[in-house]
Amino acid sequence: MTRNGPLALSFNALVMVFMMAPLVVVCLVAFTPENTLSLPTTGFSLRWFTAVFERADFITAFANSLKLAALSATLATLIAVPAGLALTRYRFPGQGVINGLLLSPIIIPHLVLGVALMRLFALLGVNGSFSWLVLAHVVVITPYVLRLVIATAIGVDRSAEQAAESLGAGRMTLFWRITVPMILPGVAGGWLLAFINSFDEVTLSIFITSPATQTLPVRMYVYATESIDPMMAAISALVIALTAVTMLVLDRVYGLDRVMVGKS
């Protein structure tokens, strides 16, 4: 294999600096003791982190986002697992269309779906309803679970199922004792990926949330367009920390490279 020369390595270093710079600067500014957005030069302070926890609107938005992400990721998993298994194991007319339909939210801009759902919810009189917000998120995150379920289901060795069946196992036993344990890494990885995507979603949510159901990214977006103070940096640093923890879990459960690069 060809080795990297000094030029290639410095290029790599530049790309890393570019990718990390905005995240690092956010984390540094979060610790500033000043009232303005500046790098902490005189000393470190936790005052802006304390400020975050005194803001009821941000706490509510954070709670909303957690609840929304947990609920929608779970619902998405509940519909994507049977759908993924059906799409890999059975042949039926319309299979390709259904497969395409369930993966299509990936290529439909979230913004277009957001305004479309705003219209539907206005007609139904459910705009700002939390339950409908959950269902809307389920639609956009289902493809992520579905892809991982399909990828793991294809790799499953069917002989174990055939053996269990020939030994007299019922369909339920077969599903819970054989199939589920074998596709579990894909299901768990898909759930986490769906959770992260729902938690980060801003473009669709901005159209269908009310002040009471506002999610953290929407609250942050609105706050960033109105005023800029170091508290925004503190919240962002907390979000980065939380994402880092989730990623460590994701890495343990399914393997980060498999989730992101799609290697199976």
């Binding site: 060809t2 080795r3 990297n4 290639a8 390595l9 790599n12 790309v15 890393m16 990718m19 710079a21 905005p22 995240l23 956010v26 957005l37 519909i79 994507a80 049977p82 059906a86 799409l87 194991r89 059975y90 042949r91 007319p93 339909l101 369930l102 939210p105 290529i107 801009p109 979230h110 913004l111 277009v112 779906l113 305004v115 479309a116 759902l117 219209r119 809307a136 389920v138 639609v139 289902t142 055939q162 992260i196 980060d200 473009t203 159209f207 990214p217 942050m220 977006y221 960033a224 367009t225 800029i228 925004m232 940096a233 962002s236 979000v239 980065i240 994402t243 992101m260 690069v261 290697k263």
Partner: protein, 289 residues
């Protein structure tokens, strides 16, 4: 579980049923409603007229410079972002693939993690770097230069978008590099081919499908990006997504917003499908299919 054809069909539909139903109600139906809305008459005093139809929102789009200029700007910004992602992402993926075990996954994770961090956080990070008193301007002043206006310019939007989109280019290129057979490279080198010949005649043709699918994703996502132009472009530098937002939530002209949204969706789908077809045809011919 080798059931009959009939059980296959029954199980297939019943297991995909809940998902299909949900998608029909919350994706297909609202998109159809938006299509209808985009041809509804709108009056600034009385609002949407659901029973009167007009094509004026679409004609506005193509005749009013305010609208088509935003479309053109969105197009060139997305095209430039895509080109930059190819120029940075392809060499970066190559460099990564040549690294040794611990470094390779470390840098791969570093380059891909921003993907999982909220785009609002990343846009905010860039506004800290590019603001009038931001880190970049402080560095310029410290080096004796004059501060530049960077934030709320196309430059800031392009930088922000490249940052968000780069992982989407690196992932498919990386995936196609993994499938590469190193012995072909060794064979070419041992037969006296130069490194450049090996790259252009052996590596590049094989990673081209990855590059092209990355191009597609990056262009589509850039053209419809909302948070980056919203936070780094400011109020005046509009892109299609921020224009739609304004039509719906500031102007309250939903039919006009719907017409722009439908047009954006159609352009996106047409670009994606025709690009896909083009790529497929080219590669099928090359493989002699």
């Amino acid at each position: 579980m080798s059931g009959s054809l009939f059980t296959d069909v029954r199980r297939g539909y019943s297991l995909t049923g809940p998902a299909v139903l949900l998608f029909a109600v919350l994706m297909v139906l609202p998109l159809l409603l938006t299509l209808v809305l985009s041809v509804n008459v709108f009056d600034y005093t009385t609002g949407i007229k659901g029973d009167q139809y007009t094509a004026e929102h679409y004609t506005n789009l193509f005749t009013d410079p305010f609208f088509y200029e935003i479309f053109l700007r969105t197009f060139w910004i997305s095209a430039l972002v895509t080109a930059l992602c190819v120029l940075i992402g392809v060499p970066e993926a190559l460099v990564l693939s040549r690294m040794r075990a611990p470094w390779r996954s470390l840098f791969l994770v570093l380059v891909l993690t921003p993907l999982l961090i909220s785009v609002v956080v990343r846009a905010f990070g860039w506004s800290l770097l590019l603001g009038n008193e931001g880190v970049v301007n402080q560095a310029i002043v410290a080096l004796g230069g004059k501060p530049l206006k960077l934030l709320y310019t196309p430059f800031a939007v392009i930088i922000g978008l490249v940052h968000v989109m780069l992982p989407f280019m690196i992932i498919p290129v990386w995936t196609s590099l993994q499938k590469l057979d190193a012995t072909a490279e060794h064979a070419a080198l041992s037969l006296g081919a130069s490194h450049w010949t090996v790259f252009s005649r052996i590596v590049l043709p094989q990673i081209m499908p990855g590059v092209l699918s990355g191009t597609l994703i990056v262009f589509g996502l850039s053209a419809s990006s909302f948070a980056i132009p919203g936070l780094l472009g400011g109020r005046r530098l509009k892109m299609v997504a921020t224009l739609i937002y304004d039509q719906y939530l500031a102007e309250l002209n939903w039919p006009m917003g719907a017409a722009i949204a439908v047009t954006l969706l159609l352009i996106n789908l047409v670009v994606m499908l025709s690009w896909n077809r083009l790529v497929e045809r080219r590669y099928n011919r090359r493989l002699g299919v």
